[in-house]
Subunit: 454 residues, 2 copies
């Protein structure tokens, strides 16, 4: 008996402990979740607003179900408006508009085709009808599924093709039992259109997220990251620090690495941005394609920079024998290319034509020529070739970076002329003109007052 | 009059010509479409089969609508089975299974929650009911929309969260007017489950496309592309062609470029592959994560190779002064690394442990040591440093390629032990054992016959 009690005593605390452990684990993971949610919200507060907008658009659409006169005019199909609101609501205006337009057009087209097939199928009697319908459903579903792999269709109307198959199958199959299939198809089209419009309105009118603007900023940020690296590289590698740069904090040199993984994101963003109407500084047919060109040139430059970075990472510091002139020229190339890239980045961001980029590229080219003539002068012949190898490799890579910078500069200039970036002066003179207009206006106003006063 | 006739005559052919031009343009673009479709089909014939499978699964599900006893047990909700079949059918088994399981679980959870909210809302009377329902719909839709941005949830159950919002909104909102909401929710769950099962069965049973196998082959192919480049590079750069390699066809050196753009595709494939059941050589919990590690190391190596390729592209051929020993060692490093990578690739493809990879890497390391001591010996001191720069850069890059190859080799070996790749010998001995078993079996059979004969 005593043994049993002691066994129970032993078991008691251990089960309690087990439960306690389990609860503690649950509380810990809930806390972790909350912490993560807070971080995600802080990283991009638009996400929180977006969630509230999604809830709001569903509620607005659901009013059609609750309010009597609206409900009776749309019928049971009102639920498909709710489904539409859930499915097409996306983070950005471009994605929501793209899905909405796809959904409406596909529903219209597939509904009409479904009605046509129904008319054809009724000719073959009640027994033959499902066979004819299924033959058409099979053929059209198979063809539309195949169409979804065409690269151009996949990028622009993958969702529309799916909705096309869905609506066509639904209308065709339902037509077998539904008495008034035309009324049903029309009601469906109407409710979906209403659902789309409400969702798109909520998405555009309340704190809209323009994906085109995000693409614009992403491309500018990527170029800036390369610029930051290059401005720091020379000093870091040859230990000739410019004033103001921290000597051992190398984290600023790692920013460029994220540039490698943005290609598919950029392509997706450019596809969606085409749907967006003109807004702010962007007109309807903004040259989004050109951002992809700039992005791909940026990644090519990032590859060179990654190799340069290896020379810092692996601590292959050149020996002290490197002539100070070589150091100077290399640092100059890196610094000037960095300045050029940073100016290009802010030129994109502010949509103003870059002015001193060509000057910076010119400076780096002069440094490159000086570097080449230094090498030709045989200044370095007595040094150990192996010790010299990393430094010559770095020099040769820097020459390639100049080419990359020039290519990015050309692409940004093309963007500037396609998108009509303003000149720094013209933007200044515009400001001045506005100011002087303001002055003339206020003078006129005074005159007018004087006239009235008289 | 004559003038009018001549005008008509003039107008006649030009309108005809316009129509004719238009028709010709249409015919041309249709032909172009057919040509493109043929090419897409030939590139991957599985796409054609996939389209037919999609049509078939919709037809099979539609039978539930046509056949009387099935229809009466499922009711009007049968159309949602058709919608399910359209929406969850995807190219690969992993994607279809993932969507199907997400859809079924989300419908179950959201339906149950919707019924609970309905019960709660009825407590507040007919006027208060829609307000209570909408409060819940708003809160839950907003929370679920926010949850979709958590990276882990986004990768695994983004679709499930959308279906959760959809079903919950649908059940909650419908409960305001629907008399028997429990029956409706249950029927919906049932039809969706039936739709999912039929679609998944069609997808798995008829020519299944396993996305895990595609990932496996993609990773192996990418490594092979690097191997092909490295095997050809030495000969191409130093113009010391091995026997059998074509001298001026450099297209084989460009294959590696596609390696850069596969990261997001690989990640997506690994996410979907986790849903797939064991099949062929892959068991259920195959280490798909490890393929991502190998893929990322492959891309790091491709960056070095891209820089090497620049030296071929830009025709920076080294002058003839390069000592033949340097050429030999560089070519040896490149060739041996290429062989190692190609062996690793076929080791993955055949799921057999690589045997001679370490030997090849060892050879390239010996060549690297020889190259280093050549440089130290000062063999090259009298040459012009600028002419030497490209060659020293190439040599230095090749040393980095050895490190990359070794890292890939380690990652593949880890994959081999995680996934239980067989040894070449054990696989051979297994074959031999099977052969000898066969022999013993036939001898036994002969003995048996003899016994019977006796």
């Amino acid at each position: 008996m005593a043994a049993v009690t002691s066994n129970q005593e032993k078991a008691g605390p251990s089960i309690c402990g087990y439960h306690f452990q389990w609860l503690a684990l649950l509380a810990k993971s809930l806390l972790e979740l909350a912490r993560q949610a807070k971080k995600l919200g802080e990283d991009d507060p638009r996400r929180i607003i977006n969630s509230l907008k999604a809830g709001l658009s569903i509620i607005l659409v659901s009013l059609f179900y609750y309010v009597e006169p609206l409900y009776s005019s749309f019928g049971v199909n009102t639920t498909s408006a709710v489904m539409t609101a859930v499915v097409i609501f996306e983070f950005s205006v471009g994605a929501t508009l793209g899905k909405g337009v796809n959904k409406m057009l596909a529903t219209l087209g597939a509904g009409a085709l479904g009605l046509g097939v129904h008319r054809l199928a009724t000719l073959s009697g009640k027994t033959g009808e499902p066979v004819v319908i299924d033959l058409f459903v099979f053929a059209i579903a198979a063809m539309a599924t195949f169409a979804r792999i065409f690269p151009r269709l996949k990028a622009k109307c993958d969702y529309g093709l799916m909705i096309f198959i869905l609506t066509f199958s639904l209308v065709s199959v339902s037509s077998y039992r539904e008495e008034n299939i035309q009324k049903m198809a029309l009601e469906r089209l109407l409710t979906i259109t209403v659902g789309c419009f409400i969702t798109i309105l909520v998405n555009i009118c309340i704190c809209p997220v323009w994906i085109g603007e995000d693409l614009h900023n992403l491309v500018a940020l990527n170029i800036e990251k390369l610029g930051i690296f290059l401005q720091g590289f020379g000093g870091e590698y040859f230990e000739m620090y410019e004033e103001g740069l921290p000597s051992k904090d190398r984290s600023f040199l790692q920013g460029y690495k994220s540039v490698f993984n943005t290609q598919s994101r950029e392509e997706n963003m450019a596809n969606l941005a085409r749907w967006e109407p003109g807004h702010g500084r962007f007109r309807f047919r903004h040259p989004w394609e050109q951002y992809l060109t700039i992005g791909s040139l940026t990644r090519q430059c990032a590859i060179k920079i990654d190799v340069l970075n290896n020379y810092i990472d692996r601590q292959i510091q050149p020996s002290l024998e490197i002539p100070s002139q070589v150091k100077e020229h290399c640092t100059m190339i890196s610094l000037e290319c960095g300045k050029a890239l940073k100016e290009l980045s802010s030129s994109i961001r502010m949509m103003i034509r870059a002015e001193t980029t060509l000057l910076h590229i010119g400076n780096s080219k002069i440094a490159a020529e000086n570097l080449k003539s230094l090498f030709i002068s045989g200044l370095w012949k007595e040094a150990d070739p192996l010790e010299r190898a990393p430094a010559t490799a770095v020099a040769s890579l820097l020459l390639e970076v100049i080419q990359c910078t020039e290519r990015i500069s050309n692409a940004v200039q093309e963007l500037a002329s396609l998108a009509g970036f303003q000149n720094m002066e013209s933007s200044r003179s515009l400001e001045q003109q506005q100011e002087s207009n303001q002055r003339i206006y206020s003078i006129n106003l005074q005159n007018h007052e004087i006239t009235i006063g008289e």
